[in-house]
C-alpha cells in the first residue's frame, strides 16, 4: 500500500473531481473535495517523512521502468512542496465553504469544487513527476482549472482578468513545450535524470541553449517574476477570495519549483549560472521586482490588489535567493517559498473574512474595524508582521537567511535593498493596521457599532494557518532543515 502513495497522491484528487460532478449537491460535493484534499495532505506528509528517513523515492507509473515509462521522483525538495500545496488546499477548502456559498451561485458550487480538485491534481502532478513532458501536461491541467476558478469571481472584471491570464499563461506553457521539444531533440530522452546526464555530452549544444532560453521565459511568465507579472494583480483581485488565498499560496510557488528543478537538477548549476550567466537576467529582475512592487503596493487602495503586488515582490525575494546559487541562497529561497505561501494564504483568508462581513475591502473605509472584527484583525496583523519579517514570524526566518546568504557572497547592495523593501512593507502593511486599529470612524452609522465577526468555519482555518506559521517562525530550524536538505540535493544534482 505504502509503495503506491506517489501514485495515490495524484489519483485521489483526480478521481474525486468527476465524482464531484456526479454528486451535484453543493454540500456533498464540498464534502467530497474536502475528503480528497485531506487524504492528499496525509499522503504528502507520509511521503515527506519517508523521504527524510530513507532518501529519494522513485516510482514507475504503471510498472513501466524509467527510460520508457514515466517516473515519479520525490526528494526533500518536492516532498516539502507537496506538503505545502496539499496542506494549503485542505485548510483553504474548509474556509471556502462559507466564503464560496456567499459569492458563487449555489447551482455552480459542484463545478467550483471540481475545478478546485483538478487544480490541486495538476499542481501536485507538476511537483511529483520526474518526466519533463509530464510537467507540461500537469501544468496545463492546473492552469486550465485555474482560469475557470478565477472566472467564478463576482466582479465582471474577473472574466477579463481570467482571459488575460489564459493568453499569457498559454504562451508561457507553449514556451515550456518548445523548450522540452528542443531538449528531446538534443538528447533523445524526457526523463529528468537522463536529461541531466546527457545534456553535457549532447552534440547539439545550440539546441540545448535554445531549450534553456525557452524554458526560462516560460517558467518566468508562469511564476509572475517582474516584468512578466502583468496577469497577476487583476487575477488575484477579482477571483473569489478563497481561490486567491489558494493560488497565492501555491500556484506561483509551484512554478518556482519548476524553475529550480530545471535549472539545478536538469541543466545543472554550472550550466545555468556558470556558462550562461542566468543571474545576469534573474537577479536584476528579482531585485527590481521586490523594490518596485513593494513601492507600488503602498499606493493601492484595494486590500487585495495591495497584497497581489506584494506577492510579486515576494516572488522577487525567492528568485533573488535562487540566483545566488549557493547552499545558503537556495535554502533561503526554498524556505521563503514555504513561508510566504503560508503567510500570503492567511492574509488573503483574513481579507476574505472582511469581505464576507463588510462587503468591500476598500482600505480607507475600513476604519475602526478592530472593534467589529477583532479576531480577523488580529490574524491579519500577525500575518502582516510575517510579511514584513518581524522577529518570531516566518518572514523573519526567511529574510534573515536571505540577507545572510547575500552577505556571505559579498553582495552588500542586495542585502541593503532587501532591507529597503522590507521598510516599504512596513509602510503598506502598517497603513492598513493604522486604519483598522487606530482611526476613529468618521460616521457613526448603525453598522459601525457592535461585533460582527466572521463565521467560525472561516476563522478556525485562518487561525490554524496563522498558528502553523507562528510555530515555524519561532521554531525556524524545522523548515530550515528540510530546505537545507533540499538545497544540497539540488546543488548535488539528481541521484
Amino acid at each position: 500500500m505504502i509503495d503506491q502513495f506517489p501514485a495515490l497522491q495524484i489519483m485521489v484528487p483526480l478521481v474525486a473531481a468527476p465524482i464531484c460532478v456526479m454528486i451535484r449537491n453543493p454540500r456533498w460535493s464540498w464534502v467530497c473535495a474536502m475528503v480528497a484534499s485531506t487524504l492528499a495532505f496525509l499522503i504528502s506528509i507520509i511521503l515527506l517523512q519517508q523521504v527524510m528517513a530513507n532518501g529519494v523515492i522513485r516510482y514507475a507509473v504503471g510498472g513501466w521502468a524509467a527510460p520508457s515509462g514515466i517516473e515519479y521522483y520525490i526528494d526533500a525538495m518536492n516532498a516539502a512542496v507537496l506538503v505545502l500545496v496539499s496542506g494549503i488546499s485542505a485548510v483553504v477548502l474548509v474556509y471556502a465553504y462559507r466564503s464560496v456559498a456567499k459569492s458563487v451561485p449555489a447551482e455552480k458550487h459542484y463545478l467550483f469544487y471540481t475545478a478546485w480538485l483538478m487544480c490541486v491534481c495538476g499542481l501536485l502532478g507538476i511537483v511529483i513527476t520526474g518526466d519533463a513532458f509530464n510537467v507540461f501536461v500537469f501544468l496545463e491541467i492546473s492552469s486550465l482549472s485555474m482560469y475557470t476558478l478565477i472566472s467564478f469571481g463576482q466582479d465582471r472584471r474577473a472574466l477579463t482578468a481570467s482571459f488575460r491570464y489564459l493568453v499569457l499563461g498559454s504562451v508561457g506553457a507553449s514556451f515550456i513545450l518548445i523548450g522540452i521539444g528542443f531538449l528531446y531533440a538534443a538528447t533523445g530522452t524526457l526523463n529528468m535524470t537522463d536529461l541531466a546526464a546527457r545534456i553535457p555530452d549532447s552534440e547539439s549544444q545550440r539546441a540545448v541553449l535554445v531549450a534553456f532560453s525557452f524554458l526560462t521565459m516560460g517558467v518566468l511568465i508562469k511564476s509572475a517574476v517582474f516584468p512578466l507579472h502583468a496577469w497577476l494583480p487583476n487575477a488575484y483581485t477579482f477571483a473569489p477570495v478563497a481561490v486567491t488565498a489558494f493560488l497565492a499560496g501555491t500556484a506561483t510557488k509551484v512554478s518556482l519549483y519548476v524553475l529550480l528543478r530545471f535549472f539545478f537538477s536538469v541543466f545543472g548549476k554550472d550550466y545555468s549560472f556558470g556558462q550562461h550567466l542566468l543571474n545576469g537576467v534573474l537577479l536584476p529582475a528579482a531585485v527590481a521586482g521586490f523594490v518596485l512592487m513593494s513601492l507600488v503596493a503602498i499606493f493601492q487602495n484595494d486590500l487585495r490588489r495591495m497584497l497581489a503586488y506584494s506577492s510579486v515582490a515576494q516572488v522577487g525575494y525567492i528568485v533573488a535567493g535562487f540566483s545566488l546559487a549557493t547552499q545558503s541562497g537556495l535554502t533561503a529561497g526554498i524556505v521563503h517559498v514555504v513561508n510566504h505561501g503560508m503567510v500570503k494564504a492567511s492574509l488573503f483568508m483574513a481579507v476574505g473574512c472582511i469581505l464576507y462581513r463588510v462587503g468591500h475591502v476598500h482600505t480607507p473605509s475600513l476604519d475602526n474595524l478592530m472593534k467589529r472584527m477583532p479576531f480577523t484583525c488580529v490574524a491579519f496583523i500577525i500575518s502582516g508582521m510575517g510579511l514584513i519579517g518581524v522577529p518570531l514570524t516566518v518572514g523573519f526566518v526567511s529574510k534573515f537567511t536571505l540577507i545572510e546568504a547575500s552577505l556571505e557572497k559579498g553582495w552588500w547592495a542586495i542585502a541593503a535593498l532587501v532591507l529597503l523593501s522590507s521598510l516599504m512593507a512596513i509602510v503598506y502593511v502598517g497603513r492598513v493596521i493604522e486604519i483598522m486599529v487606530f482611526r476613529r470612524s468618521r460616521e457613526t452609522g448603525p453598522e459601525s457599532s457592535g461585533m460582527c465577526e466572521a463565521p467560525l468555519s472561516m476563522l478556525v482555518p485562518l487561525y490554524v494557518l496563522v498558528g502553523v506559521s507562528l510555530y515555524f517562525g519561532i521554531n525556524g530550524s524545522a523548515t530550515l532543515e528540510v530546505a537545507g536538505r533540499a538545497a544540497s540535493f539540488l546543488l548535488g544534482g539528481l541521484q
Binding site: E140, L144, F163, S174, G181, L190
Partner: protein, 122 residues
C-alpha cells in the same frame, strides 16, 4: 542555400509561430487573439512532428526486418496529448469570451479597457 531549402519544414514552423504571436499582440478582438494562440500552438505541434521524421522512414510497426526504417513515434504521441490540451485551452477561452460578451457587450480589448478603467476599485 541547401540549408534554406533543406530545412523548409523548420522555416514553416518559424513563420507560423511568428504569425500567431503577431496576431495575439496586434489584434484587439479577443476571438482573433485566440486564433493567433491556436496558430502559435499548432506551429509547436509541427515542430515536434518535423523533428521525429527520419529520412525514408515509414510508420513504426513491429516487423521481422532488421533494415526496417521508421520515424520516431514518441513525439507523435506527445503531440496527441498537446493537441488535446490545445483544444481544451481554446474551449475555455471561447467560453470566457462568451461570458465577457454577455457582461460587457463587447469583445474589443481597447473598449474593454476603457470600460474597466471607469469602474471603481474595491
Amino acid at each position: 542555400m541547401s540549408q534554406l531549402i533543406g530545412l523548409y519544414s523548420y522555416w514553416i514552423v518559424i513563420v507560423l509561430m511568428m504569425a500567431g504571436l503577431y496576431i495575439m499582440i496586434a489584434r484587439y478582438n479577443l476571438v482573433k487573439k485566440i486564433i493567433g494562440l491556436s496558430l502559435f500552438q499548432t506551429s509547436i505541434f509541427y515542430l515536434y512532428i518535423t523533428m521525429s521524421k527520419v529520412d525514408g522512414g515509414t510508420a513504426p510497426i513491429l516487423v521481422d526486418d532488421a533494415d526496417y526504417v521508421y520515424s520516431n513515434p514518441l513525439p507523435h504521441v506527445l503531440i496527441l496529448t498537446a493537441i488535446v490540451v490545445g483544444v481544451a485551452t481554446s474551449a475555455v477561452a471561447l467560453a470566457l469570451i462568451v461570458r465577457i460578451y454577455e457582461s460587457f457587450g463587447t469583445i474589443e480589448e481597447d473598449e474593454l479597457k476603457s470600460i474597466e478603467a471607469a469602474e471603481p476599485d474595491a
